[in-house]
Amino acid sequence: MHVDVLLFGPLAEAAGADCVAVDVPDQEATAGKVLTALHEASPVLRSSLGACHLAVNHAFAHDSTPICASDEVAIIGLVSGG
């Protein structure tokens, strides 16, 4: 399954893009698998991913959270609002 992972803030600046495309097997499409695929797909983000969480449909997800093709998926790094 093809998943477009949205990037924001410092992660988007590091990647030079606001989205990274990854592929995960349909039967293994979970947030954890997407993170692993992101690690492989974007070497420039690897050092940051340990402090990141995946969000699915605007809510933080666990590694086991299932993902389907219509979901909005984003990687959320350390935040700095306020």
Partner: protein
Amino acid sequence: MESTSVAIITGPLRSRVDEPTQVGDAAGAVVTFLGVVRGEEGGTLIAGLEYSVYEPMATRVLEHLARETIERFGVLRVNVEHSQGLVPTGQCSFGLTISGAHRRETLDAMDWYIERMKQDAPIWKRAVAERLSQATDMVKAKHG
């Protein structure tokens, strides 16, 4: 009337203070915090901060925190606004107003909300260099 309101605003916020009448005569404390962009960041003069916001998720998180604040502290109303995009030095980028029956729980709620927002809300800021701003102003002046 809704007991919470959340808004993401493009650019600086106009400071807005709740009228106590919004919660009738139940509120004995109305506390407003305004976050203002400082003129320096890490010892360097800056022109402002550029806020990047994952808007649908940020709205959801800020709203969830507002409701949790009411449940946890028993306050009456939570209003929050946060900027996205460029906010120049000296301008307001974050506004939080909490109304409660008494001072103590209202001040505690204020502190708790801000700490949690800084942990959970998908909002990022980047300093805009003073020199870049001056260069931009010069270009604008040159080209009218």
